[in-house]
């Protein structure tokens, strides 16, 4: 499985992805941090997530993702209670609900890079399964 990785991403997660069988192609991505076929993943620590709510970056990122990709994910590592940002927890929770219900973006939360890598792997596998089901369904209808 070949995944495109933005060159500003940390290499620890790339190492975890490689352990799971991915080949990481590092390049400057216009949108998202990880791209696999029609899947775009924006990866954030809980503090990045808070920061991007405060400065309005998150909404712009999500808009660009939605314009370019079929399935879009924001994957957060760390719990709300672990943030060092002073943003109120209600703002974070409200943004999570908005991403899911208004923007149609999948939101996942994990504890660390190892879990993040495995979640990314399952997302990519599931996407491939869906594509293969759709193709089979299409063939039946021919």
């Amino acid at each position: 499985m070949i995944i495109e990785v933005d060159d500003r991403e940390n290499s620890v997660l790339n190492g975890e992805l490689e352990k799971l069988g991915f080949e990481c192609v590092v390049k400057r991505l216009k949108v998202g941090d990880y791209v696999y076929k029609g899947v775009c993943i924006e990866r954030k620590t809980i503090d990045d997530f808070c920061g991007s709510i405060i400065d309005g970056r998150l909404e712009k990122q999500v808009e660009r993702m939605k314009n370019e990709f079929e399935k879009n994910f924001v994957l957060i590592s760390g719990a709300i209670k672990d943030r060092s940002s002073e943003i109120k927890e209600n703002c974070i929770l409200g943004m999570m609900v908005g991403l899911m219900m208004k923007s149609g973006v999948y939101v996942g939360q994990v504890d660390n890079n190892k879990q993040m890598a495995f979640m990314i792997k399952r997302i990519c596998e599931r996407f491939d399964e869906e594509c293969s089901t759709n193709v089979k369904g299409g063939e039946k209808n021919v």
Copy 2:
């Protein structure tokens, strides 16, 4: 805002919901733990979530939710690392991805009952906003 609550649910969360302006109608629900109009919410601690993967309950619950309600949520309190269950973390992560991508269920994760109550409130408000937008959109098209 009136929300229906299964009578087997813990009253601490109901107290938090009441603080946020909900009126909780406690009754025996056939599906889910919290129901607000077309929204069904299954609430789980991380250990409940693990247990319901192991015994296969979760998949049945989700199937029933999808048959009855428009928008379905599984809200988990606690992080994967905090579980006392011996289930492997990859099973948990795989189930989360399956719920989101295969079953079309929204998955949210929070730290405690206070955050859970606020997330439920935002979900219900967002649902009302969507309904009102749909009605307005419909009127325009008449």
